[in-house]
Symmetry: C2
Subunit: 236 residues, 2 copies
Amino acid sequence: MCTAFHNASCLNCQARFGSILFKAEKCNLEEIEAAKVCSVYKKGQVVFQEGAYPFGIYCVNTGKIKLSHCGDDGREQIVRLAKPGDIIGYKALLSAERYTASAIALDDASVCFIPKDLFMSILQKDASLSFEMMRIIASELRKAEVKITHLSQKPVRERLAETLLFIKETYGVETDGFTLNVRLSREEIANLVGTATESAIRLLSEFKKDGLIELQGKKIRLLNTEEITRTANLQD
Amino acid sequence: MCTAFHNASCLNCQARFGSILFKAEKCNLEEIEAAKVCSVYKKGQVVFQEGAYPFGIYCVNTGKIKLSHCGDDGREQIVRLAKPGDIIGYKALLSAERYTASAIALDDASVCFIPKDLFMSILQKDASLSFEMMRIIASELRKAEVKITHLSQKPVRERLAETLLFIKETYGVETDGFTLNVRLSREEIANLVGTATESAIRLLSEFKKDGLIELQGKKIRLLNTEEITRTANLQD
DNA sequence: GAGGCACAATGATGAGGATCAAGTTAAAAT
DNA sequence: ATTTTAACTTGATCCTCATCATTGTGCCTC
């Protein structure tokens, strides 16, 4: 499956990535550090599965994770992209319900697991941590609401452009300054945009024809961010 | 504009509606009570406006509030319906940004205002309150993600049925057990579903023809909840 | 009661985008 | 290297749904 081990460098890890856990009081962070278990997931492996009950939360150490929500007809909708420092699986834990999304590694990734009881108890006594958690979730919620509006009001073309910018914002670009620093399948891009795979493909080649992007297998280079932004037609 | 006054019955109000604020430690709740200002808004009046900076949060005392997000083309998307006991305007406050949605009274409503500084300072020291806040926001986020999935995968017909059930869940029904306990314009229903007004109207009359609902002006009676649920095609 | 106004309803039309089908490339497995 | 499989691409078709246009209905004002 995946190798599990204790990662002694938790403090370093948090500091490096500015993770939320770093906001916890020191003694609590140390407690987390002692209890956590770090696991390595290969690309495509499932960190947790929609419908399962949560036993704790996860903090992404390295790699990239997609959180996707399976629709009734079986098609997936990617609701979030997580990067190192991000925590995932907190919504189900907080609302004490089953996962509404699956977490799947986009890369080889290492993810720390923090047991439910520990995390919850710390959360209840550590106002600083829960305050920070709240801010993060609130910001996620804002993003989700904007996405809802755009889904119901914007055409696929604009949403695709927006998604490309979002990917860049989330995972950044490679050293050349153009290539998106993640390999997503066309289907995954479509599931992020909320459209059919064929539509995503078609529009990507249009963007390419128009000189906005360059395609090379799964590599996507954003050549003209200006124009992509204009295509996304963002007001706010 | 709207009458503002101190409402001595805050403790009662919270208790009655099981508001989140009731989770605050007692001394903090008293502090909130002392500082809050209650205002009355007439139907259609704006509690806060998208784009403005937040000065505090609001707790709905009586009445119904819609939170709507204005799309780039000016069409509104209703992202939430608030009822007595709910707090609104917290996302902008927590993320220290401008409102991304406007709050507008659907009814004559009375809403309590709690100043920013007070609320934030309490939140940072009151782990119990911020924990509860977190749970609420997390649950909102879950709902939002489901909505995103449905928006991108389900046809309007199913989404309308789902919306009717959602309205029932949120505001309940009148004493007859059928009539939705809120008056929304067709446009508002459409903006809740995420579709054109005409489409909402057309489908509503289809539902009526099929005996699922009864229409009488703005009154909507859910005659056959069973069948509406089936039409909504909910799996999860 | 006549006029005006907002909202509701219905019809006609067209475009955007999903779906189906077929062919192509790329990657993985043997 | 060859087969197998999966992912990508492109074309053709169909259908949902948005848009435009028109008429109908209730409601308030004068």
